[in-house]
């Protein structure tokens, strides 16, 4: 075992893994994090804690990761290259490991100009770092863990036991370079991969075929990304504005139909779309599960975490292998948590 993390155990045992995401709040309210943790306990093998997601200042990923551990959840601490140089990164990794964090996802991070796609002010005038890129970061963490050396060459006595992961945008432009770039991530040390949200399953399967032909599926665990669509507007936005995400017309039409079926009743339209979104998510999970080389799913229900238990239950992924009993899974029965 590299890390002894639950995610590593689940993957090693050959289970189809499930990871989900918890976004820290924009303040210091620990209860917010704990509330989400209690809601989601047992629905996934590990939970990504985002790191200043969409280039907006939030509670640090290390702190929020430690908070969810108090509730018995396992975090995947996300670490962007945008905000830290190699000194800060390695110091935070040592600190995170000292606090019991065992999984880390290495990502470049949205550019600081992003600011939640203009919905928040953010800090577009910030200076970014990008001292190392995400691929270099993977290699740095692998070196710390396996060789017991800092990037600069100084020794590390107690090596940080971390499962290191990376993100992958299988359908990002230029698409022909994506399998090669995945290989670089695997070569650098990625133990697991979480992909950008997949809606175009057929094209994703084509990329996975290349990945399998390269033998990468045997060297890393690819967890296919599923972003739960709440409504037609969200699907349209992701299709037009999120790099690497393309939504097939058929899915868009399904959602439009669900919306239109409610006529002028806006509340019903919203409920219809929510239900259709959940159906689509469940189907996507089932479809990506059948693609050779896919070892799990990474399900993102952005600002909609309370619907995750239901989605994963309907997808037949509950209870999780490590979950001990039904009492650990909350909120599966109820339709609306008002969260």
């Amino acid at each position: 075992m590299k890390s002894g993390s639950n995610l590593e155990r689940v993957l090693d045992a050959g289970h189809f893994a499930v990871t989900a995401e918890i976004g820290p709040p924009m303040d210091c309210n620990a209860e917010e994090v704990l509330k989400k943790a209690r809601l989601l306990k047992g629905v996934a093998d590990a939970f990504n804690i985002t790191d200043n997601q969409t280039a907006v200042v939030r509670m640090s990923s290390i702190a929020a990761a430690v908070l969810i551990m108090r509730e018995g959840l396992e975090p995947v601490m996300q670490m962007t290259c945008r905000d830290r140089n190699r000194l800060a990164i390695q110091a935070d990794i040592l600190g995170a490991c000292a606090l019991g964090i065992r999984n880390c996802l290495c990502i470049a991070g949205d550019h600081q100009s992003f600011g939640a796609a203009g919905r928040l002010k953010g800090h577009p005038g910030a200076r970014n770092v990008y001292d190392v890129d995400s691929i270099q970061l993977l290699a740095v963490l692998k070196g710390m863990r396996d060789e017991g050396v800092q990037q600069g060459g100084d020794p590390i006595e107690m090596k940080p036991p971390l499962l290191v992961g990376a993100a992958w945008t299988p359908l990002g432009d230029p698409v022909e370079i994506r399998p090669l770039r995945l290989k670089k991530k695997v070569d650098a040390g990625a133990d697991f991969i979480q992909t950008q949200g997949v809606y175009d399953v057929a094209r994703f399967a084509e990329q996975m075929k290349i990945v399998c032909d390269m033998g990468l599926h045997e060297r890393t665990a690819v967890l296919a990304g599923v972003i739960v669509p709440r409504n037609l507007g969200m699907l349209k936005y992701m299709n037009s504005s999120v790099a690497g995400v393309s939504v097939p017309d058929a899915l868009m039409e399904r959602m439009a139909k669900a919306k239109d079926a409610a006529g002028k009743d806006k509340k019903q339209a919203s409920r219809n779309q929510a239900e259709e979104g959940i159906k689509i998510s469940v189907e996507l999970i089932e479809q990506v599960r059948d693609i050779p080389g896919v070892k799990g799913v990474h399900v993102q229900a952005i600002e909609w975490e309370h619907r995750l238990p239901e989605i994963l239950k309907r997808a037949g992924l509950l209870p999780r292998p490590a979950a001990t009993g039904k009492e650990t899974v909350h909120g599966v029965e109820s339709e609306d948590h008002g969260g």
Binding site: D133, S134, T169, D173, L180, A188, A243
Partner: protein
């Protein structure tokens, strides 16, 4: 070349509010080519200031000059002399930031104000449009990336790109900005060297860049010639 852009006249005027004898100096090299601070722009800025001061009924003498390069002693000497002889109180330099620094160092007691914003090292891709192409990082890796610089042309200076934010050849920060890594991939495809991108570029030693502190280049032969000259001509 170094690409610059003229500052708004109101900003320049703000710098020189307290002076009555000004010299506006252009630079005949980069700043001229990028239409920011050559002879023509000196005229524009000087005339603009004159009109602006006249409107406020303030009498200010504004002299004009333009030298071949503001970054070399032999061209700057002329300015030094003029400032001294003509009792210039303040200088507005339309050279790049280097010109302002260099003039300021030479003029000692006379203030030098920047008349342009120095932007980047770039090239003219079409008339009137310049694009950043080099970040002056001190250790060129263009042989690895098909001659397209990831440090200058990728918004994240990623050495193993492209990141997930590339879309239709454009960068996630702005659909007007080319994705540097899309350009690299395109170029290496044409060269038939795309497979070379499989090689991982390790973390960089940024000490060759500004991260390592202000830099200095010494051309040993020329520098030693200068020393000898100094010895023979006391």
């Amino acid at each position: 070349m170094i690409v610059a852009e003229r500052k708004p006249l109101s900003e320049i005027r703000g710098f020189v509010e307290d002076y009555y004898r000004l010299l506006v100096v252009g630079c005949g090299t980069c700043a001229t080519v990028c239409l920011a601070g050559g002879e023509a722009e000196v005229k524009v800025v000087a005339s603009g200031l004159r009109i602006s001061f006249l409107q406020d009924e303030k009498e200010v003498e504004i002299l004009e000059d333009c030298v071949t390069r503001q970054c070399e002693p032999e061209f700057v000497e002329k300015i030094q002399k003029r400032v001294e002889d003509e009792k210039v109180e303040a200088v507005v330099s339309l050279g790049c930031g280097v010109g302002v620094n260099f003039l300021a160092q030479k003029l000692e007691t006379v203030p030098v104000f920047p008349g342009v914003n120095t932007k980047f090292f770039g090239a003219a891709v079409e008339p009137g449009v310049w694009i950043e192409m080099c970040a002056g990082c001190g250790n060129c890796i263009l042989h690895l990336t098909g001659g397209v610089c990831p440090i200058a042309r990728c918004s994240k200076s990623i050495l193993n790109g492209p990141c997930g934010g590339s879309r239709d050849g454009k960068c996630e920060i702005n659909p007007e900005v080319d994705c540097g890594w899309a350009l690299i991939v395109e170029r290496m495809k044409k060269l038939g060297t795309l497979d070379r991108l499989a090689e991982r570029i390790p973390p960089r030693d940024w000490s060759t860049s500004h991260a390592g502190g202000p830099r200095k280049v010494v051309h040993v032969e020329v520098a030693s010639l200068d020393d000898e000259k100094g010895e023979t001509e006391p």
